[in-house]
Subunit: 414 residues, 2 copies
Amino acid sequence: MKQINIGIIGLGVVGAAVAEVLHKNASAIAAQSGLRLLVKKGCDLRKVKVSCPVTTDAYELINDREISIIVETMGGVNPAKKFILDAIAAGKHVVTSNKELIALHLDEILASAREHNVSVLYEASVGGGVPILGALRGNLAGNVLSEVYGIVNGTTNYILSTMSEEGKEFSEALKEAQAKGFAEANPKKDVEGYDAAYKTVILAAEAFGVRVKMDDVFREGIEKITIEDIRYAREIGYAIKLLAIAKENAGSVDVRVHPALVPLAHPLAGIRQNFNAIYVKGFPIGELMFYGPGAGGNPTASAVIADLIELGQTGRVFRREIKAATVKKIDDVKARYYLRLQVSDKVGVLASIAKVFAEKSVSIAAVIQKETAQNTTTLVIMLDESSEKNMQSALNSIKKLSVVHHLGNLIRIL
Amino acid sequence: MKQINIGIIGLGVVGAAVAEVLHKNASAIAAQSGLRLLVKKGCDLRKVKVSCPVTTDAYELINDREISIIVETMGGVNPAKKFILDAIAAGKHVVTSNKELIALHLDEILASAREHNVSVLYEASVGGGVPILGALRGNLAGNVLSEVYGIVNGTTNYILSTMSEEGKEFSEALKEAQAKGFAEANPKKDVEGYDAAYKTVILAAEAFGVRVKMDDVFREGIEKITIEDIRYAREIGYAIKLLAIAKENAGSVDVRVHPALVPLAHPLAGIRQNFNAIYVKGFPIGELMFYGPGAGGNPTASAVIADLIELGQTGRVFRREIKAATVKKIDDVKARYYLRLQVSDKVGVLASIAKVFAEKSVSIAAVIQKETAQNTTTLVIMLDESSEKNMQSALNSIKKLSVVHHLGNLIRIL
């Protein structure tokens, strides 16, 4: 049986799980893949308890001629990037779970891998255990894909699910997520959509072969979503989810991360807790969805090991060329919208709001009057498809109307 | 670029779609896989309009030295089996969508492929476009799987969805499915669970490496499910779905196809129309679900092409050994149950039923009294986990009670 010697840099939750699973599932993996995957050495600056020898010097792994694949599970850009580039230069394949590094430095890493005739795979960087990148690269390679979108951040989905199911406000749900270990002490990267934006960059590369930069990704977080928004949305048949969206049409790419109203009958609406789910559309497949655990040591280890097996079985993995993207400006993106606002409770208010929308060619689909208190009425307005530009222009005028007391959230509809 | 010459035997809905998609998506497939997949010739006895040369003689393809992969999309056991075995003997890889043939003759086909050093792949045989077999074989090969279950028959899911959403009875929903082309004129194979049983055999082979025979699969169809069952189930928080179930535990395999009550919060409960969805549990992945179109020419073509690309890129594909299975007897399978029955509307009836269950060690979890008419009351009884043997033994006694007018459906709970 073919033996593959592996070095793991970074023995935190994911790296340690990879080492343990390779040990525990060794005979099953051998039977299922024809490979003996052996962790020859791990590397971590901390003292860790794993079933392989451990060093604090990454170069003991990178320079070890018996090691053919380096697993990088330390996270962060530095020094992970240097370790990966040096491992590639030393002729080793690399498997990484590092979404930030891949999203920011994909070109440089893939160019170096091409130059040195090795492969870099990163299934674990998107969707945790969900095998979405392997599907896009392999199982769906006969398709021309047009859309990839979904729930790729478990923290925000946990918070939104908790708000929806337990009627908690955002701040309270965030605290609960932190207490349960589903959110970090500093939740900015998750809550404000940066983590999902990294994953959007990677999904666009794998699905459409285009290189999108982080700054190209339109990004809105969930920090302003209120329990009222969630309740009103549900009343009219929608759930609110933070979506990562990548669409391709005639060479132009639309890449966004923002909360969205998802119809309750759509499979994404029912994704609860910290699970991830990614929807794919294309020809000839039609539509597919992949659902599973988006984080955690064990699920993520499954993804890392999938890459190890693919490399072990096939040697260098074929990768499509990734070209510079033409990114659609957010102003030009069209969507339907949900708008919540508070207005004076008197005759003619709706007419004046409707007039502004009409002037900007934004068409109202429905108006729902909610609570009224102290002469103030909450309105929920559903708007037909319009460009972001027209929508923002209309909002600018509307918020200046004296009858408008407060402009609440504007949320796009899937 | 590497060119792979392909022959397609059977140019019906699926075979013709494969030829057309390979033609239409050719440049995308080349960019995404590094392969030029060329249909050198197709074979069909009917006159068909496709973009490749067509013959009526399958051996023009099988004996063509330039063709390296034969696609079999004609269906049925004969003569498909002979064509496949002859193609293997001629040194060709085979890709097939033929679930019946694979379920019935997997050993013989794989043994012949091993002998001739070629591969036989059959992604399209389960779940249509859903890439479940590739996931089990590849992306999840680092896992020890314990359960694979789901909705693998679009016809029955369409019927059950229609009954649930439109309040139609089985016979009416079946007619609608037939009118829309989602059910065949003779619906026996779908409705009575044979199609799902074929797929269960294949899923058990791929997930656990065990050879289950068709007769090993416990099978119940949906033909007795009534609109009352669906309504009562929903009232207590369940949907009714036809499930294909394969579980492995300590070398023993549990393989079943039957209707089941699925909790509404479970992702499988929301699968509508003729979509398929397959749930996978194992270590380290935890749980995953794959959702998508379970049939149709285009989606199924996506699966066939995935196999073609894998074979084209890697040559012979590693396949785990498939061993004879120890199959758990249905008598020993444990489940929770839903039971509907009609009884006399008088004092003491429930006590006499409860007494029988107690004697057979079956514990009642809840009793819900439904409609009463003409001295007859409909009861829904939810039963805690018990063995099938004890359950059937209890039912045998209960149906003999004079107060029991009619024994309705017994449905297992997921």
